[in-house]
């Protein structure tokens, strides 16, 4: 039986590798961009799973009683998962979106100038 989050981590690593496979072996630029997105997703999943604690809830204090005194807060602290990875992943997602957007813009223009989406056609600058 899984003691922790092997499933999440395994899935995340799987996603990363799948993304990388797409990135390294597909020739279509769009698929490469897609591969990056998949890998990004894997990373994000991994980050979130890093903050996951078994049996705990989201880090939102929604019970008024919890706010009454400090001791209660300490109790609450033992009730929630780590909020930091969630904050990080938020940022990471946005960054991923930004990069993807820019990549897509590049792909649009590459298609415009090269008339193809084959990544191998864009290796004229070399050596």
């Amino acid at each position: 039986m899984m003691a922790g989050n092997e499933l999440y981590v395994g899935t995340a690593i799987g996603l990363i590798v799948i993304g990388f496979v797409a990135v390294l072996t597909r020739r279509n630029l769009l698929k490469i961009v897609l591969g990056f997105s998949i890998a990004d997703t894997g990373v994000n999943l991994l980050i979130v799973s890093l903050g996951w604690l078994p049996g705990r809830t989201a880090p939102i204090v929604d019970d008024p009683s919890m706010f009454s005194d400090r001791a209660a807060l300490a109790v609450n602290a033992a009730r929630v998962v780590d909020p930091v990875p969630q904050a990080l992943v938020l940022t990471a997602i946005v960054i991923g979106v930004g990069v993807t957007a820019l990549m897509l813009a590049y792909v649009i223009r590459l298609y415009a100038v090269g008339g193809t989406l084959d990544v191998r056609q864009f290796g004229r600058l070399k050596w």
Binding site: F20, I60, V99
Partner: protein, 233 residues
């Protein structure tokens, strides 16, 4: 050949990463997280600890995040500033039902998005999520009608001013609270679990929401019209 090497390499990489799985196993809160969990609510009077982390403790990251988005949108627009070489495929015009439905749905979607970012400090969600929802409304409009007139001036102003507002809020913290993006000393922290609480956090999140919404809308617009002859400014 290259592909085989790539697959073998990636398999090895997967094994390497899997070695890290034990580290990833749950192990309780770290020192910083412990502090956030214990003192987060008191420090910021925000119910949503994640929001506290995002906007206050790690607010500087968020500013950067907003900047990233802003930058990538500007960048996409910059990359797409040339419009030569692309054929324009005039898509099939959507049906009247779709177009009308989209227009009808637009307002509720924006409203929902606004709700999400305004309540970012209380409930799950926040500026980014809300902004994304708002932008999805725009996306709907554009999908329904590629040439749907967007208020470019409004978007641009919103984009700029909300960004400026974020920075201004941060500077206000510097002026009043002693450090950039400080939450204390500017607005009263208010009472926990109320809309107007948690100091400048909702303000900032509102700015973020507006900014993200307008940015993503602009991005969609830019991409949508990448092949158009007229030159956007």
């Amino acid at each position: 050949m290259k592909q085989i090497v790539a697959v073998v390499a990636l398999a090895t990489l997967a094994i390497l990463l899997w070695q890290l799985a034990p580290i990833a196993m749950p192990s309780g809160l770290g020192v910083v997280a412990q502090h956030y969990a214990e003192h987060g609510v008191q420090d910021n009077r925000g119910a949503n600890l994640v929001t506290s982390v995002v906007v206050n403790y790690r607010g500087f990251d968020t500013l950067g995040e907003v900047t990233v988005l802003f930058l990538s949108v500007s960048g996409a627009a910059f990359v797409l500033r040339r419009r030569t070489g692309l054929e324009v495929h005039e898509p099939r015009r959507a049906s009247e039902i779709v177009r009308t439905g989209a227009r009808l749905l637009f307002a509720p979607i924006v409203l929902f998005g606004t709700y999400i970012f305004v309540h970012g400090h209380l409930t799950p969600g926040g500026g980014f999520q809300g902004g994304a929802v708002v932008a999805s409304g725009v996306l709907l409009l554009l999908l329904a009608n590629k040439d749907h007139p967007l208020p470019h001036g409004f978007l641009s102003w919103t984009e700029s001013l909300s960004g400026l507002g974020f920075v201004a809020a941060g500077l206000a913290g510097l002026w009043a609270g002693g450090s950039f993006l400080a939450n204390r000393g500017i607005l009263p922290l208010g009472t926990w679990n109320q809309l107007f609480s948690a100091g400048v956090i909702p303000v900032i999140y509102t700015f973020v929401g507006l900014k993200v919404g307008s940015e993503l809308a602009t991005l969609l617009d830019v991409m949508m019209h990448a092949a158009d002859e007229e030159v956007h400014q």
